[in-house]
Amino acid sequence: MVRSLADHLVIVPILLPLVVGAAMLLFDERRRRLKMTLSLATVTALLVIAVTLLIRAATIDTDGDATVIVYPLGNWPAPFGIVLVVDRLSALMLVLTSVLGLSSLLYALARWHKAGPRFHTLFLLLLTGLNGAFLTGDLFNLFVFFEVLLAASYGLVLHGSGTARVKAGLHYIPVNLVASSLFLIGVAIIYGVTGTLNMADLARLVPSLNIDERALFETGAAILGIAFLIKAGMWPLCFWLPTTYAAACAPIAAMFAIMTKVGIYVILRLFLLCFGGEAGNSAGFGADWLFFGGMATIAFGGIGVLASQSMLRLAGYSVLVSSGTILAAIGTTNSAVISGALFYLITSTLSISAFFLLIELIERGRDAGADVLAVTMEAYGDGESDEEEDDDEGEVGVAIPATIALLGGAFVACTALLAGLPPLSGFVGKVAMLSALINEAGSISIANWVLITLLMFTGFATLIAMTRTGIRTLWMPGEGAIPRVRAVEAAPVGALLALCMLLTVFGGPAMRYMDATAQMLYWPQEYARDILGIAPAGTVPLRPTTGTGGKP
């Protein structure tokens, strides 16, 4: 089997940003135009590659299975060498990463990339880490890519400098360093018990562990789980998150919308691979923790959304609500709920990212105290609301007359998406999850009712909070100057929201893709068989690719 050039496409999402990012270090900071062009071209190429991989992963293979593209690095067979794997889920996450990457980069090119040194290199390294984490099929390799993306994110959180960012970084960095230590401990225990780091090989070995080994393995998996839950922001491991996201500059916060999703992606993958339906006695280990922890996160996020005084913190708590919803959905171990959650994952990431970008546009030309006023005025009556202020000196002449209307429209779209209101895709994702929860075989358990109630409650809480801030910021006459918005800044917000609209219009095909993805995650032998059966170029397969059962 000689590998064609198309097979090498799998490693390009890692190599390309790494090489370009490193090469950019050689150029002087003043050559901005060159750096802009290079990184824009790289990120566009990444998007094209990710879409190509998605199309390949979505087509059915010649043998009737779903396509799993396996790329053995160093050409060693799977359990011994490190493999990169593209299946439906990882291809989907790659596309999501590059979409967010492109929109955030475009936004940053308007002004933010000048705010500090080496923005483009750090940004591309962040993409390298994200793509690598989504592609790898090996636990330790996952750790390495996690560190790459975290190291880049440490730099990006501090981008633009300032006391608030340094203070937030002082919490964000130690929390993640401790999480990385836990990650290593978990990986080491799992290696000590099973002797393998390959995820597919782990899935194969889990059912055959004896009682002592199983106890140790589950301990390792639990420690590993805590490391990912810190990244995903599950309550009570999430207190660093809203502060950090609020402190980061807008395009970076928009990019960070996918960082919590990396934790969720790994949990989704490893949990269903190691403790899914075929794990023997270990099946469902930790599901309750995910379910109830997820619900606690939704509740905490919902209360936080209501209590937030600034829009940035509101967006930070929306990240928590979105994480909690997906974690609780994974905890149900019901493939229909998980497929709904996948759809929700995509739309919520896109809309939160758009919201972070939008906030900065709206907040230009406003005084910082207005946010606090929005909440306190609500509580103490609006006695001073008709007080006129004329401080629109400067900055007016250039403004587009329709700016406020455009921003308002985008704000309404974000509200509908985040709260899960009917016309947009946030609603489709929520309905998919709710209907799967309600249609579960037999009577609906009390726990599921609580989850349904919580989902409704947070939707409502988000709606209230967003409406309140929306009225206070967009409908207040004479409050500050009209923000100056450049087309290159408005375009990414519009594009992200348009993608959400497209997801609504093509909800059918998208849901079918998610269903197939969830099915594949839920019955992972096909994935494991494809990975372990892959032969290095020019040799015979190590293990027979046929046999060992299909879908039950």
Binding site: L158, V166, P174, Y191
Partner: protein, 112 residues
């Protein structure tokens, strides 16, 4: 030998966690370093402890796994050491920046 290593890891991790919970940034960074030592030793021990066994095959042909140490954890430890070192250096820079900007070495950026 196992008990010595286990106590060593325990002391490192325990002191590290204690220091991590202290309010000064310098204590936090030393705590993080101690934790990473503990973690590195732990990864190393997961390849089982063997004295005087090389992590390579002695010669051509199929070797006897009983006479060699597991090379994988040693490779993992090397990677973890490098990454941990880089992260400590990065955090050190931030620590100095925070000291300069806020005028205090408290982790919250203000004394209380």
């Amino acid at each position: 030998m196992e008990i010595v290593l286990a106590i060593g890891i325990g002391v490192f991790a325990g002191s590290g966690v204690w220091l991590l919970l202290r309010p000064r940034t310098y204590q936090v960074i030393i705590g993080l370093s101690l934790i990473s030592y503990a973690v590195n030793l732990f990864i190393f021990s997961m390849g089982r402890l063997k004295v005087g066994a090389p992590p390579i095959l002695p010669g051509p042909g199929v070797g006897d796994p009983a006479t060699m140490a597991d090379p994988t954890p040693q490779a993992l430890v090397l990677t973890a050491i490098v990454i941990g070192f880089a992260m400590t250096a990065l955090f050190l820079v931030l620590l100095l920046a925070a000291r300069g900007l806020t005028g205090t070495d408290h982790v919250n950026g203000r004394e209380d």
